[in-house]
């Protein structure tokens, strides 16, 4: 065992964890407000990647314009997904909403596979690297962290500082009570779905500036998001961000002491254990 990799891996893990956390925030926001586990989360992340590809390679613009655009497209796409697939069954048992969002998953994946193929893609972003000793931090990672934190901050400002954001939170807390207060809950649910999707697509866009990807790449990040969301407490955006850091760190550090291929085993075992021991998440309140 060589512990020389410990520090660089911990740093890499934390940086990437921020982006994982951003993606998971999208999933957890949607769940927190609408009580829907969004199975279209992965394809939505992949859509974010392709927005960057289109902007950078297609239009030849700065890839970070693509990141911004991904957020806007995500907001719109999320509202559309809610209106088309979720609204009608919002009060149905969870299997119904799970399958409704899974149908959206199939539609996006099917269409994207046909139109874009599953060929690997990459957006070449070179922002150099910071080096100190055996630690190398890629510029793209640093920028991704800054954007991820800014996006999370913006979400919080929106939820806690604006009237609209407070309405969204009221709907999350108690839909019926919010309606009695005169809030149009359907509009808030749609907005939450839009915001969640925007976060997921932004995360996807940031991932595209760091790694290669294809139409199906969202899948890995979707399952990771599930793990993170449970870790941080289903429906808890702060929890998701911290959960992302924890998973990022866990991935980086455990890989140093055990073979990397065992990392997912640990990750999923932890996931199930947390569900069993503290279903509200490590950061959530006890039942």
């Amino acid at each position: 065992m060589n512990l020389g990799a410990l520090l660089p891996s911990a740093i890499d893990g934390l940086l990437l964890g921020c982006v994982y956390g951003l993606a998971a925030m999208g999933l957890t926001l949607i769940f927190g407000v609408t009580r829907v586990v969004n199975l279209a989360h992965g394809p939505v992340i992949a859509m974010g990647m392709f927005v960057v590809l289109a902007v950078a390679s297609g239009a030849g613009l700065n890839p970070y314009i693509g990141v911004l655009l991904a957020a806007v497209v995500g907001l719109a796409a999320g509202v559309v997904i809610y209106v088309v697939a979720v609204d009608r069954v919002i009060n149905a048992p969870e299997l119904t909403t799970l399958l409704a969002t899974f149908a959206v998953n199939l539609i996006i994946i099917g269409t994207a596979t046909t139109l874009l193929t599953t060929s690997p893609r990459a957006v070449d972003v070179d922002l150099g690297a910071l080096r100190a000793g055996n630690v190398t931090v890629m510029g793209t990672h640093v920028v991704a962290v800054v954007i991820a934190v800014a996006a999370a901050g913006a979400l919080y400002a929106f939820l806690f500082r604006t009237r609209l954001g407070k309405s969204v939170r009221a709907v999350a807390a108690d839909r019926a009570a919010a309606e009695l207060m005169g809030i149009n809950s359907r509009r808030m649910l749609a907005l939450a779905f839009g915001l969640g999707t925007a976060l997921a697509m932004t995360a996807g866009a940031l991932l595209a500036t760091m790694f290669s990807f294809n139409v199906l790449s969202g899948g890995t990040y979707e399952t990771k998001s599930f793990v993170i969301v449970v870790l941080g407490g289903l429906g808890n955006p702060t929890g998701a961000l911290i959960g992302g850091l924890v998973i990022g760190l866990l991935e980086g550090v455990t890989a140093v002491v055990i073979p990397v291929s065992w990392v997912p085993v640990i990750e999923y075992a932890v996931f199930v254990l947390i569900l069993l021991v503290r279903p509200r998440g490590l950061l959530g309140s006890r039942q």
């Binding site: 060589n2 512990l3 020389g4 990799a5 660089p8 891996s9 890499d12 893990g13 990437l16 596979t113 193929t117 599953t118 060929s119 690997p120 990459a122 070449d124 690297a129 080096r131 055996n134 190398t136 890629m138 991932l207 790694f211 290669s212 990807f213 294809n214 790449s217 899948g219 890995t220 991935e251 980086g252 890989a255 140093v256 073979p259 990397v260 291929s261 990392v263 997912p264």
Partner: protein, 416 residues
């Protein structure tokens, strides 16, 4: 009931044979060849290349008037294929359909070892001959099959050649890291490379697999950097290989030699720019390697089929892109089958099997000879891997054949 069914089947078979018998004298006939293509799923890209190769072969044979047998029969190839979605369970159902409903005469393989394994079981069950391209798995060919023939050099030799090449380049290399994708093919390759490296006096300082679909290689690369090996061997498929190479470059891992599976021979590998520089990869075929009647004679093999340059031109014309080794594999699979049918003088399975067993062929794909040992029947024994390396060429990068020495287009260079 079973007895009755068998009787009926035998009666049907007799009728079919009788019908064939009466019509063998001459005239054009269709030669049905079945396979599945992965139009969707993980194997989509490479499968498409392979299918393009198969189609080009069939078109050329048809244009040339078909396969002419000694007895005057002319066979026109007709391709039958379905989408297997890159899924093993679909493959089995579809090959059964090809054999029983479409009544194909011969089978070609899907792309990738996993799918081939599944298809081979069905082919073997039905006694259908299948020539495989796109699959280099050793284990598949050690399962006691009698009708499956492998065109590719088996995976166990993918990295052993790279080790020879590395030591020829720099005998002072002492420590290596072997890191591979955790899938059947790459794990098999890595498993064969490790004892070979140790037999050459090398120390394996790190030997790990990573998950298929890994995009973040930072933890693994940090670990490699900490172990500071002289060389890195491994990889898996295209996407992970490319991403891994980029991570190794970004993290400035100072290995003198890096060899990866599958990815480097793909022209688009160079999209990662300077990160591709110096990366070595095994290839089943490279355009610059000349196979012709002379090399055939030197190897004691029979030369067959078009010249490399003619093929490349035809492929360019047909598809508007340069062929990769996957394309040539598909084309050569057809070619080998064609030659065996010619030699056998019929499409009778037993006769063609005998012809394939006896084959020692040189085509534009290289040499082909199949094992006749019962344990490894059908396994490729003669085809040679070549190794390419991405080297600086003017402003950009060029892939050069660096090994074997006899066919190289440039000498191997240490990385950085």
């Amino acid at each position: 009931m079973r007895g009755m069914r068998i009787t009926a089947a035998v009666a049907a078979a007799v009728l079919v044979l009788a019908a064939c018998g009466s019509g063998t004298t001459s005239g054009p006939k269709t030669l049905k060849i079945g396979f599945t293509a992965s139009q969707t799923g993980a194997q989509e890209l490479t499968s498409k290349r392979q299918v393009e190769g198969i189609k080009l072969w069939a078109d050329q044979v048809a244009k040339a008037g078909g396969i002419k047998l000694k007895d005057g029969t002319v066979l026109t190839p007709q391709l039958v294929s379905y989408d297997d979605e890159s899924k093993t369970d679909r493959v089995q159902a579809l090959y059964t359909k090809l054999i029983n409903d479409d009544k194909v005469d011969f089978l070609l393989s899907p792309y990738s070892s996993g799918l081939i394994k599944a298809a081979a079981v069905v082919g073997e069950q039905n006694g259908k001959i299948m020539v495989t391209a796109g699959g280099a798995d050793d284990a598949t060919m050690e399962q006691g099959f009698t009708s499956i023939y492998q065109l590719y050099t088996p995976g166990s030799k993918y990295l052993t050649g790279a080790i020879d090449l590395m030591l020829a380049m720099d005998p002072t290399v002492k420590t290596i890291a072997i890191v591979n994708e955790k899938d059947a093919f790459s794990t098999g390759v890595a498993a064969a490379a490790k004892p070979y490296a140790e037999s050459k006096g090398l120390t394996v300082v790190l030997n790990e697999g990573y998950d298929s679909g890994t995009t973040d290689f930072a933890p693994l690369v940090n670990k490699i950097a900490a172990a500071a090996p002289d060389a890195i061997l491994g990889g898996g498929h295209f996407q992970d290989g490319q991403t891994f190479a980029k991570a190794v470059f970004d993290k400035q891992v100072a290995a003198r030699f890096v060899a990866l599976l599958v990815a480097p021979p793909e022209p688009t590998f160079s999209a990662i720019g300077a990160a591709a520089l110096g990366i070595v990869g095994p290839s089943q075929w490279e355009q610059s390697v000349k196979y012709d009647a002379t090399t055939a004679a030197a190897a004691g093999a029979t030369w067959y089929g078009p010249a490399v340059a003619d093929f490349v031109t035809a492929y360019q014309t047909a598809y508007g892109a340069a062929p990769s080794y996957h394309s040539v594999g598909g084309y050569a699979a057809g070619l080998v089958l064609e030659k065996a049918i010619e030699d056998a003088g019929s499409i009778d399975a037993a006769a063609v099997r005998k012809a394939l067993d006896a084959l020692n062929l040189m085509t534009l794909f290289g040499q082909t000879q199949f094992s006749t040992d019962t344990k490894t029947h059908g396994k490729q024994t003669a085809h040679q891997m070549v190794y390419v390396q991405w080297q600086a060429a003017g402003d950009g990068l060029a892939s050069q054949v660096v090994w074997p020495v006899a066919v190289r287009t440039a000498p191997i260079l240490p990385r950085q």
